[in-house]
């Protein structure tokens, strides 16, 4: 099929508009082009590459502690030779174990699935999909990346401290995190963690302000808010959630820094260590939990919304159907955003907080399942009787929906404060959030990468490798996390170093081995993706201008990626982005946003 028949080709718009040529012709050095770049497309790639590096580090950490959990009695001299400070007599040290789970969580939640996921796709997609030359402030955009980079350097450096990296869990609850005498990781490791996170929040804020004002102010002609692709809507609300919740993490962390450094008692009271009473009085560790989860819960939506947005877009494109319930999708994102701010205490049902408050939070928590279910319904109905094209992006997008359903259902269990008495802090919670957030967001990210790789690098990724990657990851992820539900139901607590000596739990030894084996396989499977990614970057099949025959604006900007995105004038938008398969008699089943409405369409006004 000829894409150019519908498409306004670029060949004839290569004229420079008066006064404002889109393409800037600087003499760019390697440094200004790839390192200190101000081009949103390059900054997006920087976020992506950093995120991939972090994902490998974070993933490898999980392999190390899964080795401990799978084979608690064996020794691994090989590992000791490489990671000599973390192993003694061939076994992972308990302190190292705690540092590893803490850093694994921190890296995955913040560095990979927050900074890199939003950073990559907000940067690559927002300007291209709304028809802008760049972000509102390219400089702030670059600074956002560099703050992220420096935060990463500090976090990475903490791994090499003699006392080890932070080890109080990714939620760094005091008093454990506040008092260096409680564990080695609460010394300098924790200080590094806190500094890194403050830098990280600066990065999020710089990026988020930019994304929001770009979406609000830089849309091209005809691109009204209700013609925005759902990716942009999702990234827009993600940024707003970040702007409103991350500052509270700063407050939370600053008070913790004071408790650690100035001897204040914000979170500390009545503490006795080694028979010695400490002078702290009047503080409350529950206050910390409230402040932390006020960020912590919205944070999980910061992670999942971009993935949801991309999946919505990808499912529509690859099933050749308009997204089902476009406005319902937008309002459910809005609903999630608002409700997401008033459910945080469901992480604290057993903290000693007032049980009455617990039932209020149960109510809100169960309410948030409604917009989530609306989205699931809409994805399924979008797929329903679609002309589905099986491609790597569509496989991962469908995988996302599967994961989100599996994990969302267990969320409803956990949201009930009474059921949570049994399930809190067990492997059930670990299973819940890894499936619904961790794996689902990774699937969204992979779907996004496979879909927009041609947009980023002008080439296609290898499909065979992609399918194998999908199969390993999909099956493997379920093998890892599904059994954890049962272990958790039986009451096995999370964050334990070993269950050997606990009679009731040692029976799950074999299951733990299975999980660890699956972890290792899935981890290795990701190298297939890496090989595919870098190989395709240089050797992949050259992409045509609009490889997926999609409607959105990014595919009208020259595929080789030019500074300023469009030569000559910016494209004008005439319709929403989901006009797929409008005319059953035509063999062209998509109408790009730049195609003017026909007289007929104007009359029946369905799509603005």
């Amino acid at each position: 099929m000829q894409t150019t028949t519908v498409h306004e080709t670029h060949a004839d718009v290569h004229v420079h508009g008066p006064g404002h040529g889109g393409g800037h012709h600087h003499t760019e050095t390697f440094i200004s082009k790839y390192i200190f770049s101000l081009d949103h497309k390059t900054i997006g790639k920087q976020f992506l590459i950093m995120g991939m590096a972090w994902a490998i580090i974070g993933g490898f950490m999980s392999v190390l502690f899964r080795v401990q959990l799978g084979w608690p009695d064996e020794t691994f001299p090989v590992l000791e030779r490489i990671f000599s400070t973390w192993f003694t007599d061939g076994k992972l040290n308990p302190e190292a174990y705690y540092s590893l789970i803490t850093m694994h969580g921190t890296i995955m939640v913040f560095f990979v699935l927050t900074a890199s996921l939003s950073g990559t796709f907000a940067n690559v997609l927002i300007p291209l999909q709304i028809g802008a030359r760049d972000m509102a402030s390219p400089l702030m955009n670059a600074l956002s990346f560099w703050f992220f980079f420096i935060a990463g350097v500090v976090m990475f450096a903490s791994l090499f401290l003699p006392t080890g990296a932070a080890s109080a869990g990714w939620t760094i609850y005091p008093p454990l995190s506040a008092l260096p005498q409680t564990s080695p990781g609460s010394g300098n490791g924790m200080t590094f963690w806190l500094i890194a996170m403050v830098l990280f929040v600066a990065s999020t804020l710089l990026g988020g302000l930019n994304y929001v004002s770009t979406v609000l102010n830089m849309r091209t002609k005809g691109m009204t808010m209700f013609r925005l692709p759902l990716t942009v809507w999702a990234l827009f609300f993600t940024a707003i959630i970040g702007i409103l919740s991350f500052p509270v993490l700063v407050s939370c962390v600053v008070l913790l820094i004071f408790d650690r450094g100035l001897g204040t008692s914000f979170y500390l009271s009545n503490i006795v260590i080694g028979g010695k009473a400490l002078p702290y009085a009047g503080g409350s560790p529950i206050l910390f939990q409230h402040l932390f989860w006020f960020l912590g819960h919205p944070e999980v939506y910061i992670i999942i919304l971009p993935a949801m947005g991309m999946v919505s877009e990808i499912l529509a494109v690859h099933s050749r159907k308009p997204i089902f319930g476009y406005k319902a999708m937008i309002f459910s994102i809005l609903g999630i955003t608002v409700l997401g701010f008033i459910v945080w205490a469901h992480h604290m049902y057993l903290s000693g907080m007032n049980p009455f408050l617990g039932s209020v939070f149960t109510l809100f928590t169960l309410l948030i399942a409604i917009p989530s279910a609306v989205k699931v319904f809409n994805w399924l109905t979008t797929l329903w009787r679609g002309n589905i094209r099986i491609t790597p992006p569509s496989m991962f997008a469908i995988g996302f929906v599967s994961m989100f359903i599996s994990g969302g259902l267990t969320g409803i269990w956990l949201g009930n404060s009474t059921i949570d008495i049994q399930l809190h802090d067990t492997y059930f919670v670990v299973a819940h959030f890894h499936i619904v957030m961790g794996i689902a967001a990774f699937f969204g990210m992979f779907a996004g990468i496979y879909h927009w790789f041609p947009r980023m690098f002008g080439r296609m990724m290898n499909e065979t490798m992609a399918y194998i990657h999908f199969a390993i990851t999909f099956i493997g992820a379920y093998l890892i996390f599904w059994p954890m539900h049962f272990i958790g139901l039986a009451g096995v607590p999370r964050r334990y170093y070993s269950f050997n000596e606990i009679e009731a739990f040692s029976q799950y030894g074999d299951l733990n081995k299975l999980i660890s084996v699956a972890t290792i396989i899935v981890f290795l499977g990701q190298f297939l993706f890496l090989v595919n990614f870098f190989w395709s970057m240089y050797r992949g099949r050259k992409s045509v201008q609009n490889p997926w025959q999609a409607n959105t604006l990014e595919w009208t900007s020259p595929i080789e990626g030019i500074h300023g995105n469009w030569d000559g004038e910016l494209p004008t938008v005439h319709r929403w982005p989901y006009d797929y398969s409008r005319d059953p008699n035509s063999d062209i089943d998509f109408i790009p946003q730049t195609v003017p409405l026909t007289e007929e369409e104007k009359k029946d006004k369905i799509h603005h």
Binding site: L139, S213, P279
Partner: protein, 247 residues
């Protein structure tokens, strides 16, 4: 780096004049420029930071059986020795900060009239007010530290009747809740830090005005943005004032 800024500059002249992207793009509902959009969202975010601090303040304070009476803690006035002037000094401070906010409002007005001299004049007013506020705060901190207040120690304790006294004067039966000092220094310090950055930004804006940057640009929107930040800092003080001095 210089080169990067140059590209940035060029970029911006391309995208300005706001509110839209200058190429006939869609306008925002409110029809404000991206710079102001950014500033508003930043202030919203900063408001959440302060709210978190003030909620922490409220929750810790409400959990205490006793709290020092602000009328008896903040009762000194510089140069008056052992006075009893409850809240007099902080009222002066507050008044100065409000005046400086008024000055910045005037600067913004002059900006609309494209009156460079007027903007400069009123910005000086704003800067001086901010600096005076910081000076006052420094004095007050200094005074309280001299009385023994620390982030981890609070000399203002209750006597047998629950009346606030300095422990050192042997009237109080015990030191007060230690959270008092931590919260006081933490939150007024964080606010003071905002005032400080605000003053720095105002100074920068003054010099940019003096150089004719905004005159050449054809609008004084930057002064408006700077002004938004300054009013916000002022507004936050009202809440801090309420929390520490009036309740």
């Amino acid at each position: 780096m210089a080169e990067i800024l140059e590209i940035q500059e060029e970029h911006h002249t391309n995208l300005l004049p706001t509110p839209d992207n200058g190429e006939g793009g869609e306008k925002t509902a409110m029809n404000i420029s991206y710079g102001k959009t950014m500033m508003w969202y930043f202030l919203l975010s900063d408001a959440f930071t302060f709210s978190a601090f003030l909620i922490a303040y409220a929750s810790i304070r409400l959990a205490q059986a006793w709290w020092p009476n602000p009328n008896l803690v903040f009762k000194s006035f510089p140069g008056l020795g052992h006075t009893n002037a409850p809240l007099a000094f902080v009222s002066v401070m507050t008044f100065i900060l409000i005046l400086s906010s008024v000055a910045v409002v005037r600067a913004v007005q002059e900006g609309h009239r494209m009156n460079q001299k007027g903007v400069m004049l009123w910005m000086i007013g704003g800067i001086v007010g901010g600096a005076m506020f910081l000076g006052c705060q420094a004095w007050e901190w200094n005074h309280l530290i001299a009385e023994g207040l620390r982030p981890f120690y609070n000399p203002f304790g209750p006597d047998a009747n629950g009346v606030t006294h300095l422990v050192e004067e042997h009237m109080a039966v015990s030191p007060g809740p230690i959270a008092f000092g931590a919260l006081f220094f933490g939150i007024t310090g964080f606010h003071g830090f905002h005032v400080f950055t605000g003053v720095c930004i105002n100074i920068w804006a003054f010099f940019a005005t003096a150089n004719g940057t905004f005159q050449r640009r054809g609008h004084y929107e930057m002064i408006e943005k700077v002004g938004l930040y300054w009013h916000f800092v002022d507004l936050v003080w009202v809440f801090v004032f309420l929390a520490f001095y009036l309740m």
